[in-house]
Structures are given as structure tokens and as C-alpha cells.
Amino acid sequence: MSRAPGGGKGAATASALSVQAVQPSEGPELVQLLTPEGERVEHPDYSLDLDEEAYRGLYRDLVMVRRIDTEATALQRQGELGLWASLLGQEAAQVGAGRSLTERDFAFPTYREHGVAYCKGVDPVTLLGLFRGVNQGGWNPRDKGFQLYTIVIGSQTLHATGYAMGIQRDGADGAAMAFFGDGASSQGDVNEAFVWASVFQAPIVFFCQNNQWAISEPLERQSRIPLYQRARGFGFPGVRVDGNDVLAVRAVTEAALERAREGSGPTLIEAFTYRMGPHTTSDDPTRYRLAAELETWKLKDPIERMKAYLSRSGMGNGEFFDQVDKAADELAAHIRAGCLALADPDPITLFDHVYAGGSSLLDEEREQLATYLASFEAAR
């Protein structure tokens, strides 16, 4: 019942247990179709062939999405929003993914997917309700194929997986897409979603925007190896794409969605990008990261490279760019006006929609609050 007597020692050759210690933020495996300088390049595995209008459309999307973000940030500073989670720098990742989704597909966002929301047809004004504090997200997810923002890190990846299992059971054509961040990759739920998706070969694409930071924590606090490699531990492919290259993101995401719809199961896409702004308007990134890092990433700006590409290739000229800017100005005006018009809800509505079928307990409390509020009215 105690330790075995004598005995030698087990031994392994050095190689058997060694793992390549890869820096999680580097590696040549990055899929790119457009260099930071706006030069179109080929990739052995992925290609994208769009018509001119579509390329221009992507540029337009990027600009519009950034404008939504800028305007919302301004509105927050002016006290019109309680909070804003900026997507600055992640426009290409979101537009590339968002434009890959079709009406058959259903996206499950975090709190930062304003660009995907835009692509899915959610009016940015509706989006602001949550950040202004007048609702928790005012759109109908089923109408838009776009679930409400999920704030609890990682939860939505399981919802997306379940939805994908539903598509399978309906014998339908389509796929689910789960958005999440680098930080989220550590959550149990995300890994359970990987297990489920793999076991059921569910039609789902896991789209991880690795923006290098989870609030103040760098990627090294979540993983020692590139995140896309997580997938291979669960038996499905992972791919890392340049998240600031809208063309590459679109090519990779469309391929993964197609694969999912065909019944070949999940894919993990790691869109390698950078959170240019603070985590949210409440955050102060100067406490934890160097300005130099930001400068490096400015050189990889997703909009600039697309603009350079359009200019070089002759698909876009000054007039076009001006048109887009003008459209963005109009969108900004729309957002501002719409935001200011978002009225505070009537207090008594706080009881609405707790249950689909109502509840005697709530009826009683609603009654109490109504009487109480009325007593003030009466006192006036």
C-alpha cells in the first residue's frame, strides 16, 4: 500500500513530449489577399473573384461601419450613450464576415459586432438602444438573422451551435456563425461549443476576432499558441486570416460557411486584428499598453488598404470616395438624430416580457408600482 520498492525510471526522448513553442501572435500561416499597402496577392488555398461593384461595396461598408463607430463614440462622449464598445480597427474582419453571411445564415454576436449588424441590416440606431440604456437591443433577431448582443463572454457560441443543430434537424440549407474574442477562447462554454459542433458535425463557423486584447490582458494570458490551432484539438480545421484584409476575410469565411452548409462540419476562423481603441469608453488603455503598438497597427488600417487597392486598380476614384464619405455623413446624421430621439421607456414597462405567459407574481408587483407611481401623479 505504499510506494513500490526499488525500481528504475521511465524516460522519454526529448522529442516525444516537446511542442513547438510558437508565439501566439506570429506565424506565416496568415491568409492574406491584400497587403497593407493595398497590393492584391494570391494565396494557394483561398481566392476571391468579385465584380467591381462588389469591391466598391466592401469599401463603402468599411467606411460606413467606421462612421457608425465614430459617431457612437462621439455620442457617448456627449453623454447620449452610457457606454460604447468601439470596433475601431476591426472593420474588415466584421465586414468580411458579415458580407459572407446570406439570408439562410444566422449570426450570434458579442457586444462589439456593429459591423456585422450593419451587414445584416440592423439599423445602427436600433443598435444604440442598448448602449443608451433604453433597451437591451431592440431588433428582432429572427427578422435579421442576427441574434441580440451577448455580453456574458462565450455564451453565444453554444447558442450558435444549438442553432446549427437545429438547421441540421430541419434539413435546411444554411449555417450559424458564432462571433467571439481572443479572451473568450478561455471560457468553458466556447470549448464545449467546439466539442458539440465537432461531435454533431454542426453547420457552424466559429469566427474569433483576435484583437490581441481582452480588456487589459494580452493574448499571452489566454494561449501559448496561435488561437486558430485550438480547433485541431477538437477535430476540425482552423485557419488564421489577416483580419484587416477584408478580401481575405471574405474569402476564408465564405469557404468555411460553404463547408458548413455542405455538411462538412465546423471551422474555426481566427481573424488576426487589433483593437485600436479602448476596450469600451470606460477603459483607459494607456494603463496597460504601449502607444508604439498602436502605431504599428495604424499602418495596417483596413480601410486605407482597400482604398489603395481601389485606386491602384482604377475601381475607385476621388469622386467615388467622396460619394462614400457623403453617404457616411448622412448615416452619421441619421444615427445622431435617431439616437437623440430614443426615448426613455415608461417605468411600468420594466415588467413587460419577463414571461411569454405572464406571471401572477409580476401582476401583483406591476399593480403595486402603478399605484405607487400614480400616487405621485395624484400629488402633483
Binding site: N140, L148, T161, G162, M165, D189, H353, A356, L361
Partner: protein
């Protein structure tokens, strides 16, 4: 009319739900081939296929989280949590997602999810297999919570729950799975949200639910031999509670005893005592007494009988109440 055990009544009820609505699916650990560790889903995978009766990977958060997605897609998932003590890995999904989705979406997204949980002690099991976690769910707005105490309710309540558009946690009194009764499979006896006066009496009201109902009925029978007339209310719905039935009874008897297995502190039994104390302030002749599990983790099986409310402890509380 069929004679069924409580477990079999649940099984038949689930079968009916699967037949009635093609969107109903069952998911959980070992619910398929094995038919569940208590056989509540016995034979259902065979008859409804692997797509509708799904053996899932071993992770409760995954079970509930994917059920949310399936519900968004239009399904009505019935999730089994194998034992009470294993619901906690799913707690986040239940509290922050299942309970809040309808509210968050201003009614756009309904989640008609049933979460079945065998609960309670008395079966001589090891740790985590005998707990009564109902209060956690009752305290969570957005959830509804029900429990059955007999085969008739089991058969009907499970169907009513599955057909309900809100997420409901359905607690099954595991040590009563083998109790038998005649079940009218044609007409439901009552609405899901109604409490039942399962024994009429005049001297004191015993308010209880789930596995303790039987114990309370036995206590009432014993009390009768001592000339005491106890009214027993089986709550059935734990959130929300059918207060009128409870309050009418206590107003009549002027004495109330709450009986359940869960620890007392900050619990559903606290709520019942608080509410009855408030609503029957002028009629109560004695404080509301609670006969519950103690404020310890569920103990080892060889002393669980001392932990669980039993006939004697109930009668002792009745005595104290009437003597107050």
C-alpha cells in the same frame, strides 16, 4: 385509466409531447440508448430517433446552451440534468441566458425550454445526488419552477410544461419515481399553476411540495389518530406560487407549517413563511414554522434520515404551532 409509477408517467407524458409536437426534442446525458439513469426516457430514442432524443456530450452548460440555440431555431427542447447536484455547471446558461432572453429581446425570442431535474434525497446516494436546489431557480426572475408529487401530476404536468412557452424548471421527486397510482390519461386534473389541497383539514395547514407531500400526508394521517385535523397543500408550482389557495387555507386554519427538504436559509420556504406571515398577519395564531433540511451540505446517506423532514419532525412542529 392506467396504473403507472411516477417515472413511467413521466415517460408516457414525454412520449405524448413528442407525438403531439414534432418540434419537441429531448436531450441530455444517457437519455437515448440507456433511457436515462432513472429510465424516464426509456424507449423514446428507439421510437423517435436520434435526432429527437439526443445523447449529448458530457457537459451541462453545453446541454442548456445548445438548447437555447435550438429554441431560437424553433424547437422545444426538453433537457435532462442527470441529478440535482449536476445542474450547477449549467447555472450560468440558465440564469443569464435562459431566464433573461425573452426579457432581453422584448418578447421577440421565446425559449420554451423544459429543464428536468430529478431532485431530493432519501435514496441512499453519494454526494451531489440528493440535493434540493429549487430555491436558486425560484429566486431567478424569468424562470418558472414546478414539481410533481404523484403519477397523475407527473403525467400531466410534464406535458403542460413542455407545451408552455416559457422556460420551466421541472423538478422530479426522485425517491417517488417508483410510487404507483391510477392515471387518467384523458383529462388533466388541473392547470399547471394551481396548487392542490390534497387533504382537507381544519387545525393547521401544512404547505409542501414534491417528495415531501407523501410524508406530509402520512403525518396528517398520523395526526388524525391524535384527533388533529391537518390540511395539506401541495404547491405543485413553486414559482409563481398559487397564493390564493395557500392563504385561504391558512386563513381558515390559522396555523401554518412549511415542509421541504431544502435548507431553510434564504430559500423558497423563507418566502412562503414571509408571505404567509404578511398576508395572514391577523389570522395566524402562531408563527409559521418550517421543517426543512438543515443548513449543512446534504449529509452522507447513513444519516440522511436525520436530515430529511420526517413524520415526527412535522408532527413536532404541528404541536409547537398549536401550543403557541
Amino acid at each position: 385509466m392506467a396504473t403507472l409509477t411516477l417515472g413511467k408517467a413521466l415517460n408516457e407524458g414525454l412520449r405524448k409531447s413528442l407525438e403531439d409536437d414534432s418540434k419537441v426534442i429531448i436531450m441530455g446525458e444517457d437519455v437515448g440508448r440507456l433511457g436515462g439513469v432513472f429510465r424516464v426516457t426509456d424507449g423514446l430514442q428507439k421510437d423517435f430517433g436520434e435526432d429527437r432524443v439526443i445523447d449529448t456530450p458530457l457537459a451541462e452548460s453545453g446541454i442548456i446552451g445548445t438548447a437555447v440555440g435550438l429554441a431560437i431555431r424553433g424547437f422545444r427542447p426538453v433537457c435532462e440534468i442527470q441529478f440535482d447536484g449536476f445542474v450547477f455547471p449549467a447555472f450560468d446558461q440558465i440564469v443569464s441566458q435562459v431566464a433573461k432572453m425573452h426579457y432581453r429581446s422584448a418578447g421577440h425570442v421565446k425559449l420554451p425550454i423544459t429543464i428536468r431535474i430529478p431532485y431530493g434525497g432519501g435514496i441512499g446516494a453519494v454526494e451531489h445526488h440528493s440535493e434540493s436546489p429549487e430555491s436558486y431557480f425560484c429566486h431567478t426572475p424569468g424562470l418558472k419552477v414546478v414539481t410533481c408529487s404523484n403519477p397523475v401530476d407527473a403525467y400531466w404536468m410534464i406535458q403542460q410544461t413542455v407545451a408552455n412557452d416559457d422556460p420551466v424548471v421541472f423538478f422530479e421527486p426522485k425517491r417517488r419515481y417508483w410510487d404507483k397510482a391510477d392515471v387518467d390519461t384523458v383529462t388533466a386534473s388541473r392547470e399547471l399553476w394551481d396548487a392542490a389541497v390534497v387533504r382537507s383539514g381544519t387545525d393547521a395547514t401544512v404547505i409542501t411540495y414534491g417528495p415531501s407531500v407523501k410524508t406530509c400526508l402520512e403525518a396528517a394521517a398520523a395526526a388524525e389518530t391524535e384527533g388533529r385535523s391537518l390540511e395539506v397543500v401541495d404547491l405543485r408550482a413553486l414559482s409563481p406560487i398559487d397564493w390564493p389557495t395557500v392563504i385561504d387555507s391558512v386563513t381558515k386554519t390559522q396555523h401554518a407549517i412549511v415542509v421541504c427538504e431544502a435548507p431553510t436559509y434564504a430559500s423558497l420556504s423563507s418566502e412562503i413563511a414571509a408571505r404567509v406571515s404578511e398576508k395572514c398577519f391577523f389570522s395566524l395564531e402562531a408563527p409559521v414554522f418550517r421543517v426543512t433540511g438543515f443548513s449543512t451540505p446534504y449529509p452522507t446517506s447513513r444519516i440522511e434520515e436525520d436530515y430529511l423532514p420526517d413524520l415526527d419532525r412535522i408532527l413536532d412542529a404541528v404541536d409547537r404551532s398549536l401550543a403557541y
